[in-house]
């Protein structure tokens, strides 16, 4: 018997094959909805074109195509859509890995931008550049990341 199994994070993983006409489902059976459980749920959603974010204490699913940019401030990760800002449990480097195939690119140490949401690029002070987004917001592109941006836009390997 393992009465306190979840206390030690020993969650079993069970994968069952189902027939083609059934809907695929990830069912998490837990004693309590902890941060780890929420992280697992957020990861599963992110693999399907959705990220999880918290706004005013409520959890929301955010479509990746709606995201303008993602920023890390004081060890917290924020997801910016055209009108709302959500907090994410995931770290920016985790999101970078997940979102790279969805045309997101690191443009500074603390931010990732959706390349499909940039309307133009203009110079900023200190040899940096500024990406103007479709909602009028501007995010700074560090000089260090300009060559990666060029390579990505040209379809070259980074």
């Amino acid at each position: 018997m393992y009465p306190n199994k979840s206390k030690y994070h020993n969650m079993d993983v069970k994968i069952s094959k189902i027939s083609e006409n059934e809907n695929e489902l990830v069912d998490i059976r837990c004693h309590k909805e902890t941060d780890s459980v929420r992280e697992i749920a957020a990861f599963v959603k992110s693999r399907q074109g959705q990220l999880s974010g918290t706004l005013e204490g409520r959890q929301y699913g955010i479509a990746v195509s709606e995201i303008m940019y993602i920023e890390s401030v004081d060890n917290k990760t924020f997801i910016y859509t055209a009108a709302k800002v959500y907090e994410s449990k995931q770290r920016i480097y985790e999101l970078e890995d997940i979102l790279k195939p969805k045309h997101f690119l690191r443009i500074s140490k603390a931010s990732l931008v959706n390349l499909m949401k940039i309307t133009s690029v203009k110079p900023a002070m200190g040899g940096r550049f500024s990406a103007v987004l479709s909602n009028g917001e501007e995010v700074i592109i560090s000089r260090k990341y300009v060559s990666e941006l060029k390579k990505t836009l040209r379809g070259e390997e980074i």
């Binding site: 045309h103 500074s108 140490k109 390349l115 499909m116 940039i118 133009s120 690029v121 203009k122 110079p123 002070m125 200190g126 040899g127 940096r128 550049f129 700074i140 560090s142 000089r143 260090k144 300009v146 941006l149 060029k150 990505t152 836009l153 040209r154 379809g155």
Partner: protein, 149 residues
Amino acid sequence: MSFKEHLKSVMSQFFVIATLINLATFILGEIFRPDERFGYDAFLSPLIYAAISLVPMLCMYSKKELTIKQHIFRELLQLIAIEVILIGFGLGAKCLAPENISLTASFALSILVIYVLVLVIAWLLDVKTARQLTSELKSFQSRVSNMSE
């Protein structure tokens, strides 16, 4: 920005500064000492002055991303440092004389003008890069959109 990138960016300004110093020397020389003649060693002075003016730029490297206010403050500090170092060097090398205030003032003004011109040239190059990035971005977006349709 890493130090290597900072070094690259500062070094790229060296030849711009040397060319502008050449121009300033011609203008100041025509005004203050039109009859003076020099030897071949005079060709070295724009390079020496340009190299000296790079020292404060190299010293004021910051690993952190600076805010706009911090950046403006750093530019002002660099300009003051360059003015002090170059005027000091000019006086030491006897190119400037303390009693000739108009020449020293013109020299200081030339440094300011060259400093501003270097910033303007760097800005114009960045404008060109930004336009190129915007155009490549549009092509990228249309390529992605076509693929997803």
